[in-house]
C-alpha cells in the first residue's frame, strides 16, 4: 500500500503537500480528510476510500483559506516558508470547527506543525487576525 502523500504528489500532482519528516512529527504533509486535518505521510492511501480529501491547492482558493494565507503572510508568519503549506491547512481545519479560538486553542491546533523560524508567536497572531476577519465576513 502506498502512502497517501505519494499518491497525492505523484499521481495527482498536488505538490503543495510536502514531505518533511515522513513520520507524523512535523505536519508538512497536512491535508484535510472529511473536515479534519491529518498527516498524509503516515496514512495508507487505502484508508481514505470514500472520504473527501482536500489539499492546500483547494483550500487556498476558498474564502476562509485566502484569509488564513493573508493572516500568516501579513504579520511575519511566513519566514523560510517550509512549514507554511501544512500550517495553512492545519489553521483552516482549526477554524472550521472553532471560529473564535483562544490562544490556547490555537496553540493546540498548530501543535502538530513544526516551525523552525517564527517561534510561533507571529503565526498565532496571524490566526487571530484571520479569525477576526472571518467574523467580519460573517463566514
Amino acid at each position: 500500500m502506498r502512502r497517501l502523500l505519494d499518491v497525492l504528489r505523484e499521481d495527482c500532482g498536488l505538490t503543495a503537500v510536502k514531505e518533511g519528516c515522513g513520520e507524523g512529527e512535523c505536519g508538512a504533509c497536512s491535508i484535510i480528510i472529511d473536515d479534519r486535518v491529518v498527516d498524509s505521510c503516515i496514512l495508507p492511501a487505502g484508508a481514505v476510500e470514500g472520504c473527501a480529501v482536500e489539499t492546500l491547492e483547494h483550500i487556498r482558493e476558498t474564502p476562509r483559506g485566502r484569509l488564513v494565507v493573508d493572516g500568516l503572510s501579513q504579520g511575519g508568519g511566513v519566514q523560510c516558508g517550509f512549514c507554511t503549506p501544512g500550517m495553512t491547512v492545519a489553521i483552516d481545519a482549526l477554524l472550521r470547527h472553532n471560529r473564535a479560538p483562544s490562544e490556547h486553542e490555537i496553540r493546540d491546533g498548530i501543535s502538530g506543525n513544526l516551525c523552525r523560524c517564527t517561534g510561533y508567536q507571529q503565526i498565532i497572531e496571524g490566526v487571530q487576525r484571520t479569525a477576526d476577519a472571518l467574523q467580519e465576513l460573517g463566514e
Binding site: M1, R2, R3, L4, D6, V7, L8, E10, D11, C12, G13, L14, A16, E19, C21, G22, E23, G24, E25, G27, S30, I33, R36, V37, V38, D39, C41, I42, L43, P44, A45, G46, A47, V48, E49, G50, C51, A52, V53, E54, T55, L56, E57, H58, I59, E61, A90, A93, L94, D108, G109, S111, G112, N113, L114
Partner: protein
C-alpha cells in the same frame, strides 16, 4: 464489497512504481475528491484487506493472520523504512477503520462503550467520556494524530508509554475481544460461525512491552469504561513535545468520594515499568481515608510506589529522571490534589 488484494512481490521502493488510480482522487483543483467506490487499489507490498463488517474482518484475520489497522499512526511509523519510503508491512493489513460497529461510541447503563476504531477526537467529544480521558486525549498528541489514532490501536500496540492506556488502567476499563467460533487463540482454524466475545480487564490484556493476550484470531472490538468512578481525577503527562504520542511518563489517578473521605481510588503510572504500574494493595490502604489519614499514610504510599516501579533508560528519558519525576508527581497528588478534594475545596 470486500477487497482482498494479493500481496505483490513489488518491493517497497518509495512509491515510485506506477500505481492504479489511488482512492484519493483529489481532482486537479484539489477539491474534495471522493473515492466513489474505488478499491484501495494502489500498489501494495502486503495485501490490503478491507472487510465490510466485523464478521468478515474476523474471518480474514483468522485466514490471513492479518494485522488490524485503523488509524495507522503507530504501525506506519513502526514499519517505516528510510525517509521517503512507504512502510514495508510484512503481514497482510486488515483495514478496520470504516467498520461501523467498531467506530461507535455508546452508553450502556453505567458504562461507556468505545469502539476500538473510534478516533481520539470523537472519544474526547463524546458527552459521557470521563474528564480524565478527555484531558489525556487533549495532551496525547496533535490534532493530526488525534484525528486518526484510536484507543484500540493504543491497546493493541501495548506500549508501556501509551498515554491512553495508562488512563484506562486508572478507569478500570475492560477490553472486549471478539473471534469467530470461539477459537480465540486456542489453535485450530478461525471459524466462520458465530461471533464470540469476551471481556478482559485491561491489565490482563497487556502482558508486557508490545505484548498482549489477544489471540491470533481475535480482534479488539471495544473498550468498556465504567462511568461515575471519577468524582476526582488527576492526570499528568511528562513529555518533550505534545505532538509526540509517546511520553516520558504518564500518571493517572481517579476515584470516588464518600463525604470527605475516599471511596475507591485507582492510581496508574505509565512508562516506569514493562507495563503500566498499578497496585490494588496500596490503593486499598486509602479506602475510607480522610485528609488527615492521607497525610499519615503518604510516606508509606510514596515508598510503596517507588518500590514497584522499574524505569529504564531509553531514548526518551533516563531511569533516574523517571524515578525522580514519579516521586514528585506522587507528592503532588498526595499532598495537594487529594487533600484539596477531601477538604471539599474543589
Amino acid at each position: 464489497m470486500s477487497t482482498a488484494e494479493n500481496a505483490s512481490t513489488n518491493a517497497a521502493t518509495g512509491g515510485t512504481a506506477s500505481g492504479a488510480t489511488g482512492p484519493a482522487t483529489g481532482d486537479g483543483a484539489g477539491g474534495a475528491g471522493t473515492g466513489g467506490g474505488a478499491t484501495g487499489g494502489a500498489d501494495t507490498n502486503a495485501a490490503w484487506l478491507h472487510p465490510r463488517d466485523l464478521a468478515e474482518a474476523l474471518s480474514l484475520r483468522a485466514e490471513h493472520g492479518a494485522v488490524p489497522l485503523a488509524g495507522a499512526t503507530d504501525l506506519c511509523v513502526r514499519y517505516r523504512g528510510s525517509a521517503g519510503t512507504l512502510p514495508a508491512f510484512t503481514r497482510p493489513i486488515l483495514f478496520i477503520g470504516r467498520i461501523k460497529e467498531l467506530c461507535e461510541i455508546t452508553v450502556h447503563e453505567h458504562e461507556l462503550r468505545v469502539g476500538a476504531a473510534a478516533v481520539y477526537t470523537e472519544v474526547a467529544a463524546h458527552p459521557a467520556t470521563p474528564a480524565i480521558l478527555k484531558r489525556t486525549i487533549a495532551e496525547l498528541a496533535a490534532p493530526q494524530l488525534r484525528n486518526v489514532g484510536t484507543i484500540g490501536g493504543n491497546i493493541g500496540n501495548a506500549s508501556p508509554a501509551g498515554d491512553a492506556v495508562c488512563t484506562l488502567y486508572a478507569l478500570n476499563a475492560e477490553v472486549e475481544l471478539a473471534s469467530r467460533d470461539g477459537r480465540g487463540g486456542h489453535g485450530g482454524h478461525g471459524g466462520r460461525g458465530e461471533i464470540v466475545r469476551r471481556r478482559v480487564p485491561i491489565e490482563d490484556v497487556i502482558t508486557g512491552p508490545g505484548q498482549t493476550a489477544i489471540g491470533p484470531y481475535e480482534l479488539i472490538t471495544a473498550v468498556f469504561i465504567p462511568l461515575g468512578c471519577d468524582d476526582f481525577s488527576f492526570y499528568r503527562k511528562v513529555g518533550t513535545r505534545r505532538a509526540n504520542a509517546l511520553s516520558k511518563l504518564a500518571f493517572a489517578a481517579c476515584g470516588t468520594l464518600e463525604g470527605r473521605a475516599i471511596g475507591r481510588l485507582s492510581l496508574a503510572i505509565g512508562a516506569v515499568g514493562p507495563t503500566v504500574i498499578r497496585s490494588r494493595a496500596l490503593e486499598e490502604r486509602l479506602q475510607g481515608a480522610d485528609w488527615q489519614q492521607v497525610r499519615t499514610l503518604r510516606n508509606e504510599l510514596v515508598d510503596g510506589y517507588l518500590e514497584l516501579i522499574s524505569p529504564i533508560d531509553d531514548q526518551r528519558s533516563s531511569s533516574s529522571y523517571r524515578r525522580r519525576v514519579t516521586k514528585n508527581l506522587l507528592a503532588e497528588f498526595f499532598d495537594r490534589c487529594l487533600p484539596g478534594y477531601l477538604h471539599g475545596s474543589h
